[in-house]
């Protein structure tokens, strides 16, 4: 579904990604973790071409994101993305946040889009908030709306860029619960997160990054059993001791 082949990226002379290669199969849940500044957010943003990269290629569902002939908007519409800071559109009601892209990108009718949006909103447990504005919801609720907004586009895969790291501790679980459910339903997911509990529960594979490189790319059991690299062991020991 998602193939990342030898990509490298530089900001000026500073290399943020070095020769990263991995893939996500259909129905697979892959968790990407690593210390801050390791390039994991950058990597996931390369998948739907929100970040350009200088070398290598990424192929999503058979379509290359670097090919100048690729219609990037069309490709992005098929991949859902959830951001660290939710990025709901503050001037629109929740319903309009959910329907905007369905109407403008997928060409659905207003009624069809509203029905689909409402269904997704119900799924994340927020149906009664439909007429509010994003600023009137809590962080956890906003993030669930953001997930519903992405799902309303009927994506073939979902990308999560640290979806819980801007949330208060008590709101993390409501978002993780939605993600766990999605994973169990067989959604193809690539998640940048430090939530190792989530990784243990639903991930098939765990990727560990450090200094722009993919250091580990293991099955979940291998990774939590004993990661091969010392750097990953150090990292795990720092975040797992609680």
């Amino acid at each position: 579904m998602i193939e990342i082949n030898n990509i490298s990226k530089w900001y000026g002379s500073f290399q943020v990604l070095s020769d990263c290669t991995t893939s996500v199969k259909k129905g697979e849940v892959v968790v990407v973790c690593g210390p801050s500044g390791s390039g994991k957010s950058t990597l996931i943003k390369c998948v739907n071409a929100l970040e350009p990269f200088q070398k290598g290629d990424i192929i999503v569902d058979g379509i290359s994101v670097t090919d100048p002939k690729t219609n990037l908007s069309k490709l992005r519409a098929r991949i859902g993305m959830v951001f660290q800071n939710f990025e709901l559109f503050p001037h629109m009601r929740i319903t309009d946040n959910l329907t905007l892209a369905q109407i403008k990108v997928l060409g659905r009718s207003r009624e069809e889009a509203a029905a689909r949006g409402l269904k997704m909103l119900e799924r994340v447990g927020l149906k009664e908030q439909a007429h509010k504005f994003p600023g009137q919801l809590s962080g956890g609720q906003q993030q669930r709306v953001a997930i519903a907004r992405a799902l309303a586009m009927d994506p073939i895969a979902m990308l999560f860029d640290e979806p819980t790291s801007a949330l208060d501790p008590e709101m993390i679980n409501e978002v993780l619960d939605v993600m766990v459910e999605l994973a169990k339903e067989g959604m193809t997911m690539m998640c940048v997160t430090h939530e190792m509990g989530f990784a243990r529960k639903v991930a098939h594979r765990v990727i560990f990054m450090d200094q722009g490189r993919i250091v580990e790319d293991d099955t979940k059991d291998e990774f939590f059993g004993k990661p091969r690299s010392e750097r990953a062991q150090q990292f795990l020991s720092k975040i797992l001791h609680h």
Partner: protein
């Protein structure tokens, strides 16, 4: 000050002085109105262009802003009125078909339109750039094109954020129309001077002009405050209460 002067007839005219000032006010408002439309449209386009990732367009936009921002307004008036028709034959051919008042009016609108558009472009740019990169990314990630992302995601918030500086800009524009007296446009300041010089009632004439300018600037200010309240986004930390 006694108000009787405003009812006195203008020598060799069939108007009272208050009607003379009112006609000047009419030209002031008409100039400000059309210049505002021009400035808002041009300023928005240039402001948006300067936030895209097309390097050449950004440079041209930057040059545009610096050009109109860095030349004194009164100099720009003289350039548009005296120099441009001399340089561009087509303009000259067109200008000679206009009567002088029309020529002065069109020049004032164009001059103030360009001057103010450079300032609005700067505000639109800063408004868009004040939004997080994530908003743009969220639009793109949903499959919206760049144009759609600007139209539905970025600009609605950017305009809301820049309502206060835009208000100042409208008030500046209204006040800047007074400079058009320098090319002979019979706007409010021109008529005020005329009245003062012909009646030697400087105090009365300029007090009247001051009051009129203050009233229209305050009206513009109140209207914008109303718009700001109307467009306030619930739960979003901008626009006051």
């Amino acid at each position: 000050m006694h108000l009787g002067i405003f009812l006195e007839q203008v020598p060799d005219g069939n108007m009272a002085w208050w009607q003379m000032l009112a006609s000047g006010l009419g030209w002031t408002l008409a100039t400000a109105f059309f210049a505002w439309i021009m400035a808002f449209v041009l300023g928005s386009i240039v402001g948006v262009v300067r936030t895209t990732d097309n390097h050449w367009a950004v440079r041209i936009g930057d040059a545009y802003v610096e050009l109109f921002r860095n030349i004194p307004l009164i100099v720009q008036f003289f350039i548009w009125y005296f120099v441009v028709p001399g340089l561009v034959l087509a303009v000259k051919r067109w200008v000679v078909t206009l009567d002088p008042t029309q020529h002065q009016f069109v020049t004032a609108v164009i001059c103030l339109g360009f001057f103010t558009s450079a300032r609005i472009a700067e505000q639109v740019r800063s408004g868009i750039q004040s939004l997080s990169r994530g908003q743009r990314n969220a639009g793109y990630a949903l499959g919206l094109t760049q144009t759609q992302t600007y139209r539905f995601v970025l600009l609605p918030m950017a305009y809301r954020i820049i309502i206060p500086p835009l208000t100042s800009e409208i008030m500046n524009l209204i006040k800047n129309t007074a400079v058009a007296y320098s090319i002979g446009l019979v706007e409010l300041f021109f008529r005020t001077r005329e009245m003062a010089e012909m009646t030697f009632r400087y105090f009365d004439a300029f007090t009247a002009a001051t009051v009129i300018y203050v009233v229209i600037a305050l009206t513009a200010n109140r209207v914008m405050a109303l718009i700001e309240r109307r467009l306030a986004v619930p739960g979003y930390i901008t626009g006051g209460k």
